[in-house]
């Protein structure tokens, strides 16, 4: 088997056994990128020299016995996460030439761990979207069917791992942006507990919901990458100690594990086939010792509205800094200060970004604040309470990740329809909970279907453990693409 096809755990073992060098692994992954990225379009920027340099350093670390789980492992990084020496375009014309002079906290951690950064991957502009079609810079295809979307907004991150153009990757998840593309591309994606991964160096979309997280081919790879990026950071005031213990993220049994099935996530909007496959998976878990319980989360119906109000409100403010004055796109020959602002923003942002800025500006406006933003925040509290109550009768929840499999490129034009596809994922961000999406056994239309385990706050290890048991129960995820 080619090196690029192996999991991080396998490669890590081989590296430590000196059966392979990090340079050889990086080389293999780069050859793969050269061979297939024309079709997939996952990467916005690659840099072979830089990757090899990092690989050489990884080899030195391993030689000195300082290797970790991620040493020498090629990682693709979503283009809204700052890596010195690479641009951070956020797939926007606005930041097309923006190169941050600093590393994100997670980047620093990757470097310390000896990981090899392969490059920056595509996404929906400023992480706003569910298909990566909103990228102003590139089209990314689903490696399982090139006529379909990879999901989004971390479409490049999921496609890169699925197409074996990276061993693992980092994405960011504000309303499902790691889990939904992971499910569309048949890989594993973790949205960690809010505050467990520093957001320093993540270009903000909605600060109170954004969270960086790992994507991998296996649960173990995903957990390993998470163990490297989690941790308290003094540069992010909202960051907390994750206390993540990698050894608790695998092993054990399902006995005594109560899995809640919230009926609201299996409603009319969800494809029958998806429901069926997810329920089959639930039964697999049940027959292996888990207990299934029905839980009620009636607030779910309002979650989409609340999510779009809160995320757009924060986005409208977070994206104010792109005004053409300091960095990023600047309109040519503005005749006044106002024109500089208006034209730079009108020309630099894509439609979806502008739509959300307008929505967010509206809900924060005087006279509307109480009716929208304030109400949404109140609802968010209520939703948190609902989850708390649900977790009294179960240890975690199991739901579909997305109502359906990856749709075709250009298929969904109505933004509201696109928003509706986030129905299963946004509640997790609103409640700050951890959730991991894994492929279920079976496919629909030959496309992968994902399900997510939603955990209690800081129970990231426990949902990964149960997801890993499921992976073992079905004999591993069948995620090989055709090329």
């Amino acid at each position: 088997m080619e090196l690029y096809n192996k999991s991080a755990s396998e490669l890590s073992k081989m590296l430590r056994a000196k059966e392979v060098s990090a340079v050889e692994i990086a080389d293999s992954v780069y050859k793969r990128i050269e061979n297939v990225d024309d079709k997939v379009g996952a990467y916005l920027e690659t840099n072979y020299e830089k990757a090899i340099k990092m690989a050489k350093k990884a080899d030195e670390m391993i030689a000195e016995g300082k290797g970790t789980v991620m040493t020498g492992i090629p990682v693709a990084v979503k283009d809204n996460i700052c890596v010195k020496g690479y641009k951070a375009t956020c797939a926007s014309k606005m930041l097309e030439n923006f190169e941050p002079p600093y590393n994100a906290f997670v980047t620093e951690n990757l470097i310390k761990a000896g990981a090899v950064i392969t490059g920056k991957v595509n996404m929906d502009e400023f992480a706003m979207g569910s298909s990566t079609e909103n990228s102003a810079l590139k089209r990314t295809a689903n490696p399982h069917d090139l006529s379909r979307v990879p999901g989004g907004s971390s479409g490049g991150s999921a496609a890169a791992v699925a197409a074996r153009e990276a061993i693992v990757s980092l994405g960011s998840d504000t309303g499902g942006s790691i889990r939904q593309p992971a499910s569309f591309c048949g890989v594993v994606g973790l949205k960690p507990t809010y505050s467990s991964v520093s957001r320093y160096g993540l270009v903000a979309f909605a600060s109170s919901l954004d969270q960086i997280g790992p994507i991998g081919k296996t649960v173990a790879d995903t957990a390993a990458l998470y163990s490297v990026i989690a941790g308290k950071d003094s540069m992010d005031s909202t960051s907390l100690e994750a206390n993540f213990n990698l050894s608790l993220a695998s092993g054990g049994s399902l006995s005594g594990v109560k899995i809640g099935i919230p009926k609201q996530y299996f409603g009319d909007g969800v494809s029958a086939k998806v429901k069926e496959l997810v329920m089959n998976a639930a039964k697999t878990l049940e027959s292996a010792g888990a207990t299934l319980v029905n839980v009620d989360l009636p607030g779910t119906d309002y979650a989409l509205s609340a999510y779009y109000i809160i995320s757009c409100a924060e986005a409208s403010s977070n994206l104010s800094r792109y005004d053409g004055v300091k960095y990023g796109y600047r309109a040519e020959n503005p005749k006044s200060l106002e024109e500089l602002f208006v034209r730079s923003r009108s020309e630099g942002f894509g439609d979806e970004v502008k739509r959300r800025i307008m929505l967010g500006t509206f809900v924060l406006s005087s006279g509307y604040y109480d009716a929208y933003y304030k109400k949404a925040k109140l609802f968010q509290q209520k939703l948190k309470e609902e989850f708390k109550t649900a977790f009294r009768s179960c240890d975690m929840l199991l739901t579909p990740t997305s109502p359906d499999v990856a749709f075709r490129i250009g298929e969904i034009e109505d933004p509201l329809k696109m928003y509706a596809s986030d129905i299963c994922t946004v509640t997790v961000n609103l409640a700050g909970l951890p959730a991991v999406s894994v492929p279920v056994e079976g496919t629909k239309d030959n496309m992968p279907v994902g399900m997510q385990f939603i955990g209690k706050p800081f129970a990231d290890a426990e949902i990964l453990r149960v997801a890993g048991i499921y992976e073992d129960l079905i004999g591993g995820f069948k995620t090989q693409v055709k090329f």
Binding site: Y102, E314, S316, Y327, L364
Partner: protein
């Protein structure tokens, strides 16, 4: 018709913390453009703010000094607006839950003490500056000031004249300075204020429509701006017009204000809670620390000097506004509680002169309260004259010797021996026989001249009051 003027002030004071409010950049003024900024205060994508705890401490200090209640939990909010000097497109400030609320400050004035309500004090970040220069077309942005910590002190509309507003401003400035939390350098813009002015017919309870004036950068500017604005509004009203709520820009050079925007164009700042920062918690420890470090504030001291020590307003205010002089004055009072005015005279004359000449602090010019009291007592006991006393103090500054030593060395002891004084007086009168006639013809104020001549002849050592009696007696009996 006569009108009442109603004034409320919003004071922005830059805090003198070592670092900025949300990053570790040095908080300094006057450095080369864009050398004291970083990705965080420049608002670059992906960066996040972290609150400098010193800013909270300083704001709480001010809150306690202005008798505010301190909100143990408060939050920070984003104030959204576009301007090139505001790199994030929003200013992190505090909206509905400020750190400090509902306080007041006592403002001493020559005709009595005013109690001015303080609505709130909140923390926020300063913006950068636009640089205009003939050397280039357009404007450039200097971000050195971005993220400099500010407190905004909002008063109640409790002031009724520009003089009251000025006294309030001065009191706030003295308190900031005394607490050591702001440089208070007006010329560097470390204190700026917005002024709300309205007028109403005298006696009317309901306030008139207010106008806000921005860009007031000096206390004198504030006085002019208030007087200008009040006159403008009174003129409109007395001509039968109506005041419309508006924001005006004060131009200190022109001495006029200009319409900036009317109420209809008021900006909607779309405040919402800052999601990048946690709730600010003011701990018991912090409150205790602030209370432990609290000392008498200059305004309270001024009131004490006026009411308890009976000093005239000018004396009291000149001493109280200076920490060193106040400490010296208080130390002297401790030794000689009955002599406030005499002590004040010495401090405000010869000692202040020395301070000004040397540019040193009162504690560095080599005079102790003990020395001054000793000197005052010697003058009081007529051992030396006031003139000689001044000479003793000057010699002490130079040599550090004791008063006794200096008096002995310089022979400054006052002559109170009657025979000796009689001899001097006779000599003076014999040399001024013509003037004696004038004196006898009614020019009695010549007696002072004779005393002066005697003092001169005695090299300042003669006891002037004794001389005065001796001279009068001599003239009437012997000339």
């Amino acid at each position: 018709m006569e009108y009442d003027i109603v004034i409320g002030l919003e004071i922005h004071a830059e805090l003198s913390t070592e670092t900025k409010i949300y990053c570790s950049c040095q908080n300094v003024f006057g450095k080369e453009v864009n050398t004291k900024c970083c990705p965080i205060c420049a608002g670059m994508p992906g960066t996040l703010p972290t609150l400098n705890k010193k800013v909270v401490e300083y704001a709480v200090k001010m809150g306690k000094a202005l008798n505010c209640s301190i909100n143990r939990l408060s939050k920070q909010d984003r104030k959204n607006y576009y301007y090139p000097d505001l790199p994030k497109g929003y200013q992190i400030s505090q909206f509905d839950i400020p750190l400090c609320e509902n306080g007041y400050v006592l403002v001493p004035m020559p005709d009595g003490v005013r109690k001015i309500g303080v609505t709130r004090i909140h923390i926020e970040e300063d913006a950068g500056k636009l640089v205009h220069n003939d050397a280039f077309v357009g404007s450039l942005v200097d971000m050195n000031r971005c993220g400099v910590p500010l407190i905004e002190i909002v008063s109640e509309p409790d002031m009724r004249s520009s003089a009251e507003a000025k006294a309030y401003l001065e009191t706030i400035k003295q308190i900031l300075s005394s607490l050591g939390i702001s440089d208070c350098k007006m010329e560097e813009g470390s204190i700026r204020c917005d002024i709300n002015v309205s007028v109403k017919p005298k006696g009317e309870e309901k306030f008139g429509t207010r106008c806000e004036m921005k860009n007031v950068n000096s206390f004198l500017g504030a006085v002019h701006a208030i007087d200008y604005e009040a006159a403008r509004q009174i003129k409109i009203l007395s001509e039968g017009g109506v005041i419309t709520q508006e924001t005006r820009r004060w131009d200190d050079h022109k001495g006029e204000s200009f319409l900036l925007r009317s109420k209809e164009d008021a900006q909607d700042y779309r405040y919402f809670p800052e999601p990048d920062l946690r709730t600010i918690e003011v701990t018991d420890d912090l409150i205790n620390k602030v209370e432990r470090e609290a000392k008498e504030l200059p305004n309270i001291r001024l009131i004490r000097y006026l009411e308890k020590e009976g000093l005239p307003f000018d004396d009291a205010s000149l001493i109280s506004e200076n920490e060193g002089k106040s400490a010296f004055f208080d130390a002297c009072l401790k030794i000689k509680p009955t002599h406030a005015k005499v002590i004040s005279n010495w401090i405000l004359s010869d000692i202040s002169k020395r301070i000004n000449e040397t540019g040193k602090d009162i504690s560095e010019i080599g005079v102790t309260p003990e020395f001054l009291i000793d000197l005052i007592e010697r003058v009081e006991k007529k051992e030396i004259s006031v003139t000689a006393g001044k000479e003793v103090l000057l010699a002490h500054f130079e040599t550090g010797k004791s008063a006794g030593e200096i008096i002995a060395e310089k022979g400054l002891s006052q002559i109170s021996n009657e025979d000796e004084l009689l001899k001097i007086a006779k000599e003076v009168l014999d040399n001024n026989l013509k003037l004696i006639d004038d004196y006898k013809n009614g020019k009695t104020n010549l007696l002072g001249f004779f005393v002066g001549q005697c003092m001169k002849a005695s090299k300042g050592k003669g006891n002037p009051s004794m001389l005065s009696g001796i001279l009068a007696k001599l003239i009437s009996e012997n000339y």
